[in-house]
């Protein structure tokens, strides 16, 4: 395994939330072009890892993106490198903006490409095109999730972080969104996702790791993890 294949390298990452350590010395790598899942129950620390990667939380340890350390960079500088995040909370949309404005601000750093990016997002999520000029806070939960992902795509990222895609959504909408994510991945975007829905996550991902109480307990290929007895019992209720 060549190091140049890694788009993201996490080394001894410990994340702090209000002075409390919520993630303990976590290390893993994400390869270019793959889908990597962080799975675990609520409060395990998964979202904190994403937050640290984006520079929104204080942490110790090293994070390398495309082989270069990014720890000293502020959040908006990391976006410029090709990292982006679709946050978990549907409150993360700009509720006083229209759907279109939300998408446009996503291409703040690559305005010249905005028409191309918009087309791409509208193809993935046609409902967003329909609701283009509506205020964003009028969207349903599923539509908001689509908007968050679409907005994150507008910056034409190399690595997309997805935080809790399925949270609070019906299975039907969840499937729809995962379909779109598969398409996004096939377009060459590496995906690192955080998911409580272990089944869905392992179905979609190439590799995954299990986080419990801020520590990694298992890493491996997704389909192997899916077959494992202990995981099936613990997370899939089987």
């Amino acid at each position: 395994m060549m190091e140049e294949d890694n788009i993201l390298e996490i080394n001894n990452l410990s994340v702090y939330y209000g002075g409390l350590r919520v993630v303990h010395n976590v290390s893993f790598n994400v390869r270019k072009g793959e889908v990597f899942a962080l799975i675990g129950s609520n409060g395990a620390g998964k979202s904190s890892i994403l937050s640290a990667i984006m520079g929104l939380s204080s942490y110790t340890g090293t994070i390398k993106f495309l082989g270069k350390k990014i720890d000293h960079l502020k959040t908006y500088q990391r976006i410029a490198l090709g990292l982006t995040l679709a946050p978990e909370s549907s409150a993360a949309i700009f509720s006083r903006f229209t759907v279109l404005e939300n998408l446009l601000i996503g291409s703040y750093l690559n305005r010249a490409e905005r028409e191309k990016m918009l087309e791409r997002v509208f193809k993935l999520f046609p409902i967003l095109k329909e609701r283009m000029n509506q205020p964003a806070d009028k969207l349903s939960g599923g539509e908001r999730k689509m908007l968050l992902i679409g907005r994150a795509l507008m910056s034409n990222p190399k690595l997309l972080l997805l935080d809790e895609v399925s949270l609070g959504l019906s299975p039907l909408i969840t499937d729809k969104i995962y379909e779109a994510c598969k398409e996004i991945n096939s377009q060459g975007v590496t995906i690192l996702l955080v998911e409580q829905n272990v089944w869905k996550a392992l179905e979609f991902a190439n590799r995954a790791c299990i986080i419990e109480a801020g520590k990694i307990t298992r890493v491996g290929k997704a389909d192997e993890l899916l077959d494992e007895e202990s995981i099936r019992r613990a997370y899939l209720g089987l």
Partner: protein, 284 residues
């Protein structure tokens, strides 16, 4: 008749006040702080325009352009390299620093220009026109229409340009704004710069309309605060209405009660609204 006249004057004046308030609304919205020295920055523009008029015979409306640009730059760099450090420490430190700046400026003005009132006197101040039987001084119309122009321009800027959207995004949620790649430090600096710019325009307008002296700075700041309280945050229309209310209260008090109490009356209204509805008449 007197009532109609008062209403017309009050409305026109209120329009001018809107320009005073919009700067405050921007900083409060984006940075969640108020610049205590806002009034003194307005006065800076008035006094500099006065000097330019005195020394170069430059018409204040003309000098408003370089003055505004100067203040835009001043505000930007002040926030970027100086005030941001105070703000990072705490909101209170920012308030304390701007209070100190306010005091320093006020006393510097006292030293340089004395407590005597000054005014921007130009030929067209004597013009007036008849509208439906009421004599309207040209200056009032000027104030009103320039104010509307400023508000409309600002509104378009905020709505249509990427920078403007970045400002609105930062004001709504600065963490998510950062996720868009927006450099929120620069946006805050730009916001203060814009606040200073509008203060610059306001300084020239008010200087043409009324005499000014160093101690008026505080009043301007309270009025700006009042406009934000009355009109709510983040809405141009709200700011405009806030200005209108204050203008009307002042002129009506002056006409039907006593001119000496007009400021007091407007402060009273502000305080009452602040106490009853801290989110303003129009809310956010």
């Amino acid at each position: 008749m007197k009532l109609i006249e008062a209403v017309v004057y009050g409305s026109l004046l209120g329009g001018a006040y809107a320009v005073i308030g919009i700067g405050m609304s921007l900083t409060l919205g984006v940075m969640e702080v108020m610049n205590i020295a806002h009034g003194e920055i307005i006065l800076l523009s008035s006094y500099l325009a006065y000097q330019l008029l005195l020394l170069l015979g430059m018409d204040p409306l003309l000098s408003a352009i370089p003055l505004s640009l100067f203040l835009l730059t001043l505000g930007f760099f002040l926030q970027k390299y100086c005030l941001s450090r105070a703000l990072k420490y705490s909101v209170e430190m920012f308030v304390i620093t701007t209070l100190a700046i306010s005091t320093i400026l006020e006393n510097v003005y006292l030293l340089i220009w004395s407590p005597m009132q000054k005014a921007l006197i130009t030929g067209y101040l004597l013009w007036s026109c008849e509208v439906g039987g009421i004599k309207v001084p040209f200056v009032f119309l000027l104030d009103f229409f320039v104010s509307i122009a400023v508000l409309v321009t600002l509104r378009e800027f905020l709505k249509k340009t990427y920078l403007g959207m970045a400002i609105r995004a930062s004001s709504e949620d600065w963490k998510i704004a950062q996720l868009m790649g927006i450099n929120t430090d620069n946006i805050r600096a730009l916001t203060l710069g814009l606040a200073f710019l509008t203060a610059g325009i306001a300084g020239v307008l008010i200087g043409l309309t009324y005499p000014f002296s160093p101690s008026i700075g505080k009043s301007y700041m309270v009025i700006a605060f009042g406009i934000v309280v009355l009109g709510g945050l983040g809405s141009m229309i709200g700011t405009f209405i806030g200005g209108l209310i204050i203008g009307l209260v002042q002129v009506l008090t002056a006409t039907f009660f006593d001119p000496a109490w007009q400021l007091f009356a407007s402060y009273l209204v502000i305080f009452i609204i602040l106490a009853l509805r801290p989110k303003g008449v129009l809310g956010r």
